[in-house]
Point group: C2
Chain length 266, copies 2
Amino acid sequence: MYREILGMKDKLTIVKVGGNVINNPEALESFLSDFAALKGKKILVHGGGKRATQLAADLSIEATMINGRRVTDTPTLEIVTMVYAGLLNKNITATLQKYHCNALGLSGADGNSIQAHKRIVKDVDYGFAGDVDGINATNIATFIEGGMTPVFCAITHDTKGQLLNTNADTIASTVAVGMSEKYEVSLIYTFEKNGVLTSVDDDTSVITDIDSPKYAELKAYGIIADGMLPKMENCFDALQKGVSKVIIGNPTVILNKQQLFTTLTL
Amino acid sequence: MYREILGMKDKLTIVKVGGNVINNPEALESFLSDFAALKGKKILVHGGGKRATQLAADLSIEATMINGRRVTDTPTLEIVTMVYAGLLNKNITATLQKYHCNALGLSGADGNSIQAHKRIVKDVDYGFAGDVDGINATNIATFIEGGMTPVFCAITHDTKGQLLNTNADTIASTVAVGMSEKYEVSLIYTFEKNGVLTSVDDDTSVITDIDSPKYAELKAYGIIADGMLPKMENCFDALQKGVSKVIIGNPTVILNKQQLFTTLTL
């Protein structure tokens, strides 16, 4: 930690991978091989995918929906705990081990890594959905400094014995912000597209660099709109809270350093 | 680690808890509260329980049996990974966190903690059943020295990407033996009975201390026989490989230091 005393922080890369990759065994294997090869200290955060929905269907557990949003009732929480923290997290970990990445699969309960609270009931009770409060950066750093690569699924806990189903994008940004006290953090959101595009249907129209003034401009011209807006707000929020840069794009392109992705900075 | 240089090892307690406790929510909660209160460095190893069998039945997955032994085929491996590494391991971890024990739920793939190989096919292919090869004592010590309490489920990996269903008793003894290089290890096997009994139906007839000569005597007189024999062989094997003592008995009695249990030493 001499580097820290000198004000030089070690670099840490945090990669979030979503359902589109996880649902495709070949794409997942290829992604994990690329991720394992990524040099330096790193963390993986993975989302869920279709398997939980399939398991619920196989068990004839019907999704409870309120205002078009899925409610995490007790049977659903059990299913996501089994699939996300069990099946997906352990298979991802074992695959990374095969590629000589010393992965350590974690939920937020493990080492009290990520604390959350059950979403406050206003009009709707979303059940065991968790809103993240913070992380235990010391324990996560213990894993990293021990040469391991934490692999987080999207299950957290409330520190009072309750597991909670949590948004994986939010976990990634919260871990990135929390770890930026100790590390110079790059946060990579993998995506189906190559990044932020000027023309949605043209995957070569990537805007490679966006800073705060450019972001304001892109919003004003309506180039960033709709579904991209909350994602981008989340990214700039992470930058404001200490993350060095956020990268958005296709995981294969980013991890193979092929340059066609969007980098966000303040 | 100055103590180690002086030849004084820190104490480490490893507790194995089985299906009989895990199947009963009140018993499990009570056990975890007692385990959390246990002072000093510690590790928990938990078995499976009925929930995996129930999930298989709910999914209409029939157990494949050969010579009266269950075969871990692919659907069964998925089920035990979901239930043991997901549902049970994460709920146990979250409950221990509630009781202020900084638990860290692990499979053998996590941090490459426990390596195994798929059981060699002689007459019977038991599928994805794992026979344990060894542990990564350095990584496990990193967790313990970081103030955390590893909680192992009975899933291991072959370091080539394959998860394996593994006997929890064997995991407990292998971890105990491996950690005895760095620690003075006590291994506690929790049990339905109060310990080794002179009279099977009398739970007060506990033989409180058994060393190697006494063990030979008890075998010769047929007091230790049948199902107890392989368990005891396993315990004395662990003692011969460096574990300081093995305790067998009821978890509530042991963890509350009520003295009525069996202690095995060389």
